[in-house]
């Protein structure tokens, strides 16, 4: 019998999975093969259209790219409801070349990063691609698409399509179904359709689900003055709404429910992470070192954005007398480094390599604020069920925020961490029913 006796003593540093073992076993059904082909074709049409090949036929280009890719993706994912039994079946994720930082993951990551670079700084190269969104743009906004409308369209499509996948995969859990529907609806309505309709009606493009400090310009003195002084009652409402969300809703809702009310139920960045990002959630770094880096970075960004807004107000109050151009330059620096480079390029482009919550974990100042409330002033915690933890590591592995959930669970302690977005996946994947997201008395949550 092979066991740890001298005759069979084989020192192992690791489990060696031979190549033959890890090759995928799932034979794609014909429908799914065709679906995959349609998706790839749509993608190719979109890219080829970037050369201007289809400028003469805008409607055809739109359907041939975005339409075809969407159809293909949905046809590919819908059979999951039949083929994937309800329950946790992460079979083969650690052998997957896409999901476990293989060559394909790097290709996807580089492709996504490249797209963001073009989007933010070289949009002229996307001018033909943007035309793919024209029909939708005219229909929803009454005007031609720009790069941001194209981006919004792709983003929303990704959330909706991958939301279907998320629901198929976690459909044994009502928490996951309802939460996923929530992020999908918030993205579709409040971050896509409503801003588009507002423009159609000649109102400012406004996002009711984003507020300071994530949407830092909503508290800029120029904006606040302009909106407040507007004869348009809707604009006055908008700016006051943003302030109420920042100064009232943020602390109050976080007190009752933890930061999840926003990060994994409402926020668009969170929405993308919870849908498009779900296949990559296990790639977040769980080490103590990563946690240290996380805290330095996220609170630095919070200080950066707070000081930026503060400087703008001081400068504005003094009519630019003291600080001159400095505060504007400071704001521009924030916009470049944090607004574009961090939240977009790194935050999403690096999904396949660093997990789905790179931005939310290391950069988002909104997450930082919500996290401070969650850690120090909230009823939320993840409860550990007595001594039932078997230290298997599923919770830590599938935590997108890189929290070593197991280190608390195996000691029987509550998990009260600033970064926890309350996605609930640790509770879903736990094979022993040890973890539950709960709201209870704020006092005594954290073991002293």
């Amino acid at each position: 019998m092979p066991s740890a006796t001298p005759s069979s003593f084989i020192p192992l540093e690791n489990i060696i999975i031979p190549a033959g073992f890890s090759k995928p076993l799932v034979e794609l059904s014909p429908v799914r093969k065709i679906a995959l082909a349609l998706f790839v074709m749509g993608l190719l049409v979109f890219i080829i259209g970037g050369t201007g090949a289809f400028t003469a036929v805008p409607l055809l280009y739109s359907f041939g790219s975005l339409g075809l890719a969407t159809l293909g993706a949905l046809l590919y994912l819908l059979p999951l409801f039949r083929e994937y039994k309800p329950g946790i079946h992460h079979n083969g994720i650690m052998f997957s070349k896409v999901q476990s930082r293989g060559a394909l993951a790097w290709m996807v990551g580089i492709g996504m990063t490249g797209f963001y670079v073009l989007l933010y700084w070289y949009a002229e190269y996307l001018q033909h691609c943007i035309r793919a969104a024209d029909p939708l743009s005219f229909w929803l906004r009454g005007k031609a698409a720009d790069q941001w409308f194209l981006y919004g369209t792709l983003y929303t499509l990704a959330v909706v399509i991958m939301g279907v996948r998320m629901i198929a995969k976690y459909r044994h859990s009502r928490y996951q179904i309802i939460r996923t529907l929530s992020v999908v609806v918030f993205q579709l309505m409040f971050a896509y359709l409503i801003p588009a309709w507002l423009q159609m009606m000649n109102q400012p493009e406004f996002y009711f689900t984003y507020f300071w400090p994530l949407k830092y310009d909503y508290l800029n003195p120029a904006n606040v003055r302009y909106f407040l002084a507007s004869p348009n009652q809707l604009m006055v409402f908008m700016i006051i709404w943003g302030m109420i969300m920042t100064f009232v809703a943020t602390p109050v809702l976080t007190y009752f429910f933890g930061k999840r009310w926003y990060c994994s139920w409402v926020c668009g960045c969170g929405g993308l992470a919870e849908t498009l990002g779900d296949p990559f959630r296990q790639n977040s770094d769980k080490s103590l070192k990563a946690w240290k880096i996380e805290r330095w970075m996220i609170y630095s960004v919070l200080i950066f954005v707070t000081s930026m807004t503060g400087l703008l107000w001081v400068n504005s109050a003094m009519q630019g007398g003291v600080l001159g151009e400095f505060s504007l330059g400071y704001a521009k620096a924030y916009s470049f480094f944090v607004g574009s480079l961090f939240s977009g390029v790194v935050g999403t482009g690096f999904y396949p390599i660093m997990g789905s919550r790179v931005w939310c974990r290391f950069g988002c100042p909104m997450a930082a604020v919500l996290g401070l409330f969650q850690r120090h002033f909230s009823r939320f915690r993840i409860t550990t069920n007595g001594g039932q933890c078997i230290s298997c590591g599923n919770c830590s592995t599938y935590c997108e925020m890189g929290i070593d959930v197991r280190s608390y669970a195996q000691r029987g302690e509550n998990i009260v961490r600033a970064s926890c977005v309350g996605c609930g996946v640790c509770s879903s994947v736990c094979p022993r029913g040890v973890l539950s997201l709960e709201n209870g008395a704020a006092k005594g949550r954290v073991k002293q």
Partner: protein, 452 residues
């Protein structure tokens, strides 16, 4: 003082960590299985690709040096209790002041013909897992012998690789020696929902067939049927892994004999976890081996306290255990036996599609105190269930408050009212469920606040 621990499983590592927490003694842990502590319970997830080996390590590699726990990746060849030294396979010697033996188990066999063939194995160690990965890469069928926890986990592992399985179970239903009929039936049906798993009840292994090269080519069942296969998992239980201890002066029975302080027959030598057999000379109770991961953890902590604080007898807490049978989670608290014993009454509810079940066992006397809980497909709170059992709460009080024990995530349907209705139907009583699932309600029960 130098404390040496043989075995880096949950018993040995818990002892090491607790000693470090309580004292400054020098601690050395020896293991031939792995350099670092990993979670044995997660072996199946490595095979299925849910986790990597690295992810099954509960502590990062720097943890051990930082906490001054020396790790020795070697095998103990002999224990010399007179000189208090260990001889290692590498040839080096290691002296100890106190020794804790936590060598765990190994898969049990019953002398079947062919049990040593290539492709035949148990599943306990990291090495076993590696062997299983290697032998099943091209296997067309696997046979599992033994319907216990490891058996069903092995079935799930092979199922995840789409390898057809023949699953031999001696009892009338899966794990019916431990699970009451309803639970065992539920899991039996659930196993059969999986295409490619051929469950054979009341069937045992007769012999394993050689393909002529020393590898398995099939098995013959107790009914005489021959089943071709390239892999056989023997999962009929475990036995203490104590060859090295038997060769020493330390007294062994089925396991290493210890008293309630985990002390062996040799001075300053302790044993913990699966390999220890505890005797109770004063109460004349039968000796006991507790081959349970949770128990091993408690043993490790208890020994550390004995060594570092004061010598105190091991006090077993209210029993609990958990498992997952494919997609159905199982938790048990207190005493729930497969066959109801005299003086016990039980109440059970299960849903129509056979995926959720609640059971309470209570005393069939005036107290009607609850004795145990079984839940399947539902999560219950350990602290609340234990609280009721230890305080001998009556089943009727428990039923009216039962929602407080529910530990399912938010939005999950609550099923406690069904069990109350079942009780009312059987007894003609008219109880009403007063508490729903919430942390507030759980805390209220634990602190003795009355239901509203």
């Amino acid at each position: 003082m130098h404390i040496v621990i043989i075995g880096n499983g949950i018993a040995g590592i818990t002892a090491a960590r607790t000693i470090r927490k309580l004292s400054d003694h020098r601690v050395t842990v020896i293991s031939s299985e792995s350099k670092h502590f990993f979670s044995r319970t997660a072996l199946m997830y490595i095979y299925m690709g849910h986790l990597t080996y690295e992810q099954t390590k509960p502590y990062e590699d720097w943890f051990w040096a930082k906490n001054r726990i020396d790790l020795v990746h070697d095998h103990v060849k002999s224990i010399q209790t007179d000189t208090k030294t260990l001889l290692l396979l590498s040839g080096s010697h290691l002296g100890y002041d106190k020794l804790i033996i936590a060598t765990g188990s190994r898969p049990r066999t019953f002398g079947w013909k062919g049990q040593d063939l290539r492709g035949v194995q148990g599943l306990y160690s990291l090495q076993d897992l590696q062997t299983m990965v290697d032998t099943t890469t091209n296997a067309k069928r696997g046979v599992i012998v033994g319907g216990g926890l490891i058996g069903i986990e092995t079935a799930e592992m092979l199922y995840s690789r789409k390898i057809p399985v023949t699953f031999l179970v001696r009892e009338q239903r899966y794990w019916n020696s431990v699970l009451p009929d309803e639970e065992a039936t539920m899991i039996t049906n659930h196993i059969r929902e999986h295409e490619g798993i051929d469950l054979r009840l009341q069937t045992e292994l007769r012999e394993i067939l050689d393909d002529g090269s020393g590898a398995v080519r099939g098995i013959i069942t107790s009914s005489g049927e021959e089943i071709p296969c390239e892999f056989v998992a023997l999962t009929v239980g475990v036995e203490p892994n104590i060859d090295v201890v038997r060769a020493s002066t330390i007294t062994c029975g089925r396991g290493i004999l210890v008293n309630e302080y985990f002390e062996t027959s040799a001075s300053d030598v302790y044993a913990a976890g699966d390999c220890a057999e505890m005797q109770f000379p004063e109460s004349a109770a039968p000796s006991r081996i507790e081959p349970l991961w949770y128990a091993a953890r408690a043993h490790g902590e208890s020994i550390a306290r004995n060594i570092c604080l004061e010598r105190a007898a091991y006090a077993r807490k209210t029993f609990f255990n958990s498992a997952k049978f494919f997609d159905i989670e199982y938790q048990t608290y207190g005493t729930v036996s497969a066959k109801r014993s005299k003086g016990e009454e039980t109440i059970v509810w299960q849903d129509a599609d056979g995926k959720r079940l609640l059971r309470i066992v209570y005393a069939n006397d005036a107290t009607k105190r609850v004795l145990g809980f079984n839940v399947m497909g539902v999560r219950f709170r350990q602290d609340v269930c234990t609280h009721w059992i230890e305080r001998q709460t009556s089943v009727e009080e428990v039923l009216t408050e039962l929602g407080a024990a529910n530990f399912d995530p938010e939005f999950f349907p609550e099923c406690e009212a069904h069990l109350v209705a079942e009780y009312n139907r059987q007894t003609g009583r008219n109880l009403v469920l007063k508490r729903k699932r919430s942390l507030w309600n759980a805390v209220a029960v634990l602190t003795g606040k009355a239901a509203l």
